[in-house]
């Protein structure tokens, strides 16, 4: 199809009003024609503006369905996300069976853009969080609600994310994102994604809240904290932190903080 022939079809093409064979021919031409690409883009924006007014009430369950078929099936980030500063802890690559290799490779490419090599040994500095004197050691150690099913937690988290919420990003010592937590009103929080590397079975990740300067256990994340889980944080929590601890958990952190995120002041009032 010549440029002129294609041009006359651009309006109809932008509105999906051509036959399938015309569509193919237009696409073949457009691929190499910046002028037609620009005109098509303008037509599509115009069409979108016409459709913008159609926005009506969207059933709430629709987002739940989207969330259920996306987040629960979301794989962990590709293995280019090197383990954060785990010291002597062995690194086990995450399971990836849910995604095709091509997709993983694509994601990996996208991810590497923003990632520098981990090198900073700032865990030492972060560990000073725990230099505080702690008198009350009766922190509750319990498992997070993983057993109710990752998918339902993911759905709940997605619903929370669609309403008023805060997103707390836990960063590793080198500044890279290690995990994302969504905090809904009233302190219900969801651990929704993580790039923390797998731990040996003898260890577990443990999540802590820093409440008025004292670490309070929020629960155990297990050695592979990929699945969404939910927990509660109390008013006055200023930080969320993760450490690697012996399986079964500990009442107070015994190792360096691997990731930390700030809960904005007043967020939980």
């Amino acid at each position: 199809m010549t440029h002129d022939e294609t041009e006359t079809l651009l309006g109809a093409y932008a509105l999906d009003a051509t036959s399938p064979s015309e569509r193919e021919e237009v696409e073949a031409h457009i691929a190499g024609c910046p002028r037609c690409q620009a005109e098509l883009a303008a037509h599509r924006e115009m069409a979108a503006m016409m459709a913008a007014g159609l926005g009506g009430e969207v059933p709430a369950r629709l987002w739940e369905q989207v969330a259920a078929s996306t987040f629960s099936a979301a794989p962990p980030p590709a293995p280019v996300m090197a383990p954060p500063l785990l010291g002597p802890v062995a690194f086990r690559p995450a399971k990836q069976e849910r995604l095709g290799l091509a997709v993983l490779a694509r994601r990996a490419r996208a991810l590497t853009l923003g990632l520098a090599t981990a090198a900073v040994a700032a865990a030492v500095a972060l560990a000073s969080f725990f230099g505080v004197q702690v008198n009350q050691l009766h922190s509750q150690v319990h498992h997070l609600e993983q057993q109710v099913g990752a998918a339902s937690v993911a759905t709940a988290a997605a619903v929370a994310a669609a309403g008023p919420h805060l997103t707390v990003t836990l960063a590793a010592a080198d500044g890279r994102r290690a995990a994302t937590v969504i905090v809904a009103p009233k302190g219900l929080a969801y651990w929704i994604s993580s790039s923390l590397a797998g731990l040996p079975g003898s260890q577990t990740y443990q999540l802590w809240g820093l409440v008025r300067g004292k670490p309070v256990s929020l629960g155990l994340l297990g050695p592979q904290p990929r699945q969404p889980s939910s927990f509660r944080i109390e008013a006055g929590t200023s930080k969320l932190m993760v450490t690697a601890e012996p399986a079964g958990g500990v009442p107070l952190p015994t190792t360096a903080v691997l990731a930390v995120g700030t809960v904005p002041a007043g967020a939980l009032s």
């Binding site: 041009e7 006359t8 309006g11 036959s19 924006e45 629709l62 369905q65 969330a67 996306t70 969504i182």
Partner: protein, 190 residues
């Protein structure tokens, strides 16, 4: 609230989705689900089908965010183009042929009030004005194609005009509206 996300650009939201950030998809959904669902419902009529299509649009964006190229337009235009294309495929599929024939007969018959519906639906005043300013034949060709899901050949049958004429009308109408809106936005910017 998450101010960072609420003001994030289309490109950075797409990057967020590429990094599996659920909150980025939630924001994309918050901004665009209304229009996508509205367009799907307008085209497919049946609410359950429109829901299915809307879900499909966002799930496929989660799975293949790299299909969106920020250099080629807004994320909304992209998502709506995906939704429109898919809706039209569903309408034109073999299984809905019968319904389609009935629809075409209804359209060709008396009392087709698509135009009135569109006037009510196109909420944005500036867009509606631009649409209103079009020559009648251009406007109804665009409406029949975009909101009615008809091919330009079908529009030609409905309007009883040559196919080539309808093809040009759709394009010239769109271009006229684009110029009109560009002109309007220049006016308001001054």
């Amino acid at each position: 609230m998450n101010d960072e996300l609420a003001t994030a650009s289309d490109a950075s939201l797409a990057v967020g989705v590429a990094r599996w950030r659920p909150e980025a998809l939630a924001e994309v959904y918050r901004r665009n689900a209304g229009a996508v669902f509205g367009l799907a419902k307008r085209l497919l009529v049946e609410e359950a089908l429109a829901e299915e299509l809307t879900q499909e649009v966002f799930v496929s964006f989660w799975q293949r965010p790299e299909r969106y190229d920020p250099a080629r337009g807004s994320l909304r235009a992209f998502l709506l183009a995906v939704a429109h294309g898919r809706a039209v495929d569903m309408l034109r599929s073999e299984t809905s042929r019968r319904a389609r024939e009935q629809r075409a007969r209804a359209v060709a018959g008396a009392g087709y009030d698509l135009e009135q519906e569109v006037v009510e639906l196109v909420a944005n005043e500036r867009v509606r004005e631009a649409l209103d300013k079009l020559p009648e034949t251009e406007r109804s060709a665009i409406e029949l194609a975009y909101f009615g899901g008809h091919t330009y050949r079908e529009v030609a049958t409905i309007q009883n005009e040559p196919e080539g004429t309808v093809k040009s009308r759709i394009r010239s109408g769109l271009r006229r509206m684009e110029r009109e809106l560009a002109h309007l936005s220049e006016g308001t910017n001054r």
